[in-house]
């Protein structure tokens, strides 16, 4: 199974547009040199066979690059900027290939009328899969410009070079011509040829340099626009009547009291009851006047009973990978350990709640939305409102955090529906309670592992079953002769009847849960062998890249050999995500009385191939570590049936300044390998790193995330009751 199967296909629920007249784009673009490429080209550049699933992808433009008549470069990409830094890193790639200054590059992101189809911004795919064709397109454009310059200067192309957007004759620097002089009055469109010669890494002047974010000034002055900041004449703010629980049905609603509120409009159509007003807070107050009754189904599962429920309803397993023979491995083992690991539901909780503004003018619907999938939303809105796709335009302004949660577009469909029903522009901005209610949580999951070691501290067999986490990150990478990995529900969306509400992709989906289980279990085996956890890993690894990231982290951390529990509170975990290899190490303090865990220091070593923007990549690692502390130590959505009990940050705790450990990031220099994902990998090991550090500190093993103070105290208590008491937890 390839990464394309496991990462991309789960997102392709939506059908790509069948036929959209791409020539329309050219009308927008005016003069200059334009390069296009298609989704098919993109996959070809990745040297991947075209899989059946991708034959539905549109075989037309997938990205645009323009060098305008003023010499400025514009990148048109369906990707969006939600904090991950593509606004900066894609511009860096373009600037390098075209040999222009970074200031000469403009980014147009996610606008479905201006940018060609894109499946969405997720899966750490922007740099990996969009980067190479973008670079190739830039190289193509450069070739066109050089050819134009050769004509103009009357010299052969191989005698020309480019600096800062000026082509010059290498035998006489005074003979030169700028890009703007070359593109002026021209209208040249080129489709990307696949053999464009890319600049080699050593020629890069901007890629690989640490750069500050290009959107930073707008963001520190308050002038950066998010979906909720867009204003249209005559717009109304909507507040929508919500059910008390998922699965609850509206019995009746009496909205007559709202009539007394000046300026308030009511929409009541079927189950949709909304109050609209020019002021969002007055709409909210008016909504409180609605009398409604709901029929709520009896709750049959909650955040404690969910794990038994999931095991009961689990679909038949699908083998992710296997090798050797488990029985044979079992016989070779001198010691074996079986454990069950649990992980609760986790919310995305971006600080910007799902927000959208929809306007219908002259038969065309425009939606400004906080979304990670603008083209998906375009198709969904067209279907919902019965419009042809070319009558829908989605414009994503800056997105205030996504983490996978803004791949779901419910708020935008609500805004579009209300715009149609009222005939006015309508903004829907979810309250924090609505955000917690409609979030597509990271799924609760169970992982069962049975594994053993032989008499030379080698892992003899590995029997791994993952239930509902998703299969990403489930495959083990150690040198184990007899192994089997089975996924029961390979998707993070679950199966019908499994989860009481929607679940979805959460930063490094599947991998956080799987890495917590795998790396906890590896440490348990190391302890069985009486061996230092880092040494045990290296002893059982053949993969050179993984060995290198572990060794790099250990060196920076100052890891010294000692079997756990050593009393020091040191923990390690490693894993692979989005093509990137990562090892993390932590130093923790555990208060055995309160159960409080304080992570004081984290080292992360990461091999992510060629690093486009080291500053951006380091920032992503730090974000991953911080976000990881949340899911590892505190974050868990509490619920009774379809009722979500956490409605705000008072009970749902996310990491704060006081949690901040010292974070030391090492990006391994791997310039010769292609760039890999950076927005997600560093978060996958945080759970196991802390669980292992807790065990190292106090000899207590926690098998369930989040590792709340209560669960730590329980584990400490079990450890005190004697070895073996938690052996089959």
């Amino acid at each position: 199974m390839t990464r394309y199967d496991s990462e991309i296909i789960p997102f392709l629920d939506l059908e790509p547009p069948s036929s959209v007249d791409r020539r329309e784009f050219l009308r927008f673009l005016g003069g200059g040199v334009v390069v296009t490429f298609s989704a098919a080209d993109l996959l070809a550049l990745q040297a991947t066979s075209r899989r059946r699933s991708f034959q539905e992808l549109p075989d037309d433009f997938n990205a645009f690059l323009r060098i305008g008549e003023d010499g400025r470069v514009t990148c048109f990409t369906g990707k969006i900027e939600m904090g991950q830094g593509a606004f900066t890193s894609l511009a860096q790639m373009l600037a390098d290939e075209l040999e222009v200054s970074l200031d000469a590059v403009d980014m147009t992101m996610g606008d479905t009328d201006l940018c060609p189809w894109d499946m969405g911004t997720f899966g750490s795919m922007t740099t990996r899969f969009f980067g190479p064709p973008l670079r190739a397109a830039a190289a193509e454009a450069r070739e066109v410009l050089i050819e134009l310059a050769a004509e103009r200067l009357e010299v052969p192309t191989d005698q020309l070079a480019v600096t800062n957007g000026v082509v010059y004759d290498t035998t006489d620097d005074n003979r030169k011509v700028s890009y703007s002089e070359l593109t002026g009055g021209k209208k040249i469109a080129r489709r990307l040829g696949r053999k464009a010669v890319l600049e080699s890494v050593s020629d890069f002047t901007i890629v690989g340099q640490p750069l500050n974010r290009r959107d930073a000034v707008d963001k520190v002055t308050g002038s950066a626009r998010y979906a909720g900041d867009i204003r249209r004449p005559g717009m109304l703010h909507a507040r929508i009547l919500r059910p008390p629980a998922h699965g609850a049905r509206l019995v009746d609603a009496d909205t007559t009291a709202v009539e007394g509120v000046e300026g308030a409009e009511v929409v009541h159509q079927g189950d949709l009851v909304a109050v609209l007003h020019e002021q969002p807070d007055i709409a909210e107050r008016a909504l409180q006047l609605v009398k409604a009754r709901f029929a709520t189904p009896k709750a049959d599962v909650d955040n404690e009973t969910i794990f038994d429920h999931l095991l009961e309803v689990a679909p038949p397993g699908e083998t992710v990978s296997r090798g050797g023979n488990l029985d044979q491995g079992n016989q070779a083992a001198v010691s074996s350990v079986s454990r069950t690991y649990l992980d609760g539901y986790v919310a995305h909780a971006p600080i910007e709640t799902h927000t959208a503004l929809a306007e219908i003018a002259d038969g065309k619907l425009t939606i400004w939305a906080s979304t990670q999938r603008p083209f998906g939303l375009k198709a969904e809105a067209a279907e919902e409102l019965g419009l042809p796709e070319d009558k829908v335009r989605v414009i994503p302004p800056f997105v205030g955090g996504g983490f996978g949660g803004k791949t779901a577009n419910r708020q935008a469909i609500e805004a579009a529906t209300l715009a149609k029903l009222t005939g006015k522009p309508v903004q829907v901005a979810w309250t924090r309670a609505e955000e917690f209610f409609f979030d597509t949580f990271r799924p609760a999951a169970v992982v069962k592992i049975d594994a053993g070691i032989n008499d030379s501290a080698r892992i003899a067999f590995w029997d791994y079953g993952t239930y509902f986490a998703g299969e990403r990150g489930s495959e083990q990478f150690y040198d184990i002769p007899h192994h089997k990995t089975v996924a029961y529900s390979s998707s993070w969306r679950g199966t019908p009847g499994s989860h009481p509400f929607a679940t979805g992709a959460w930063r490094a989906p599947g991998n956080n849960t799987n890495t917590f289980a795998r790396e906890s279990h590896i440490d348990i085996l190391a302890a069985e062998a009486g061996m230092d956890p880092v040494e045990f890993r290296l002893h059982n690894l053949k993969d050179k890249r993984m060995q290198r990231v572990i060794q790099t982290a250990a060196e920076r951390f100052g890891w010294t050999s000692a079997p756990s529990p050593s009393g020091r509170g040191h923990g390690v975990a490693c894993g692979i995500d989005a093509g990137t290899y990562v090892a993390v190490m932590a130093d923790v303090d555990v208060d055995e009385t309160t159960g409080r865990v304080d992570v004081t220091r984290v080292v992360c070593a990461q091999d992510m191939g060629l690093v486009i923007n080291p500053e951006g990549a380091t920032t992503q690692v730090e974000g991953c570590i911080m976000m990881g502390l949340g899911y590892a130590l505190a974050e868990e959505v509490r619920f009774t049936g379809g009722q979500i009990l956490d409605t705000n940050f008072d009970t749902y705790e996310i990491p704060r300044f006081s949690w901040l450990p010292e974070i030391d990031t090492v990006l391994i220099d791997a310039q010769d390998s292609p760039p890999q994902g950076g927005g997600e990998p560093a978060t996958i090991g945080v759970g196991a790193m802390i669980a292992n550090a807790v065990f190292d500190a106090v000899g207590a093993r926690v098998l369930r995330m989040p590792m709340t103070p209560k669960r730590i105290r329980q584990a400490v208590e079990e450890a005190r009751q004697g070895p073996g008491s938690s052996r089959h937890g």
Binding site: Q84, N212, V217, K219, G222, D229, I351, R432
Partner: protein, 182 residues
Amino acid sequence: MMSLAALGGTDYHGACINREIIMKNTIRFSVNGRPTTVQVDEDRVLLWVLRTELGLTGTKYGCGEGLCGSCTVLVEGEAVHSCQHPMKKVARKDVMTIEGLANNGDLHPLQTAFVEHDALQCGFCTPGMVLRAYSLLLSNPEPTRQEVIDHMENNLCRCGAHTRILRAIQTAADEMAEGVRS
């Protein structure tokens, strides 16, 4: 336009709405040094008046309950949660929002430090972070790291820019103390 003439009723969770006629009030205050008059119900909170009456959208809604700090603004130099701050409490007061921090386009040292330290990702919590930090430096120009952490504790950042935000605040404090920029 702003009056809410509630007729009394029951919401869908069963809480009673008081029967009351809320009048428009004239409230005069200063926003970013500019004298401002609004005609609004005095119980409305500052956040929405800033965002929808005055068009100052740099102040963000994050939680609506004073739990995340995204809506932080300064009233008389004190950081407050504008989502919890009724208009009647800003009458005749000076309000500063993120739009008022830069001086004629020149970034404040805190803003410059946030840019230079990459102390933001999605940027949504950033205005609140900057203003919360600004309120600290007004009262304590040379804070210790622990004092910065304590002061910033209730401003939430989901992207995890914490380490850089602390660095940026420290840098700005140092520069302001040295009088490099003011």
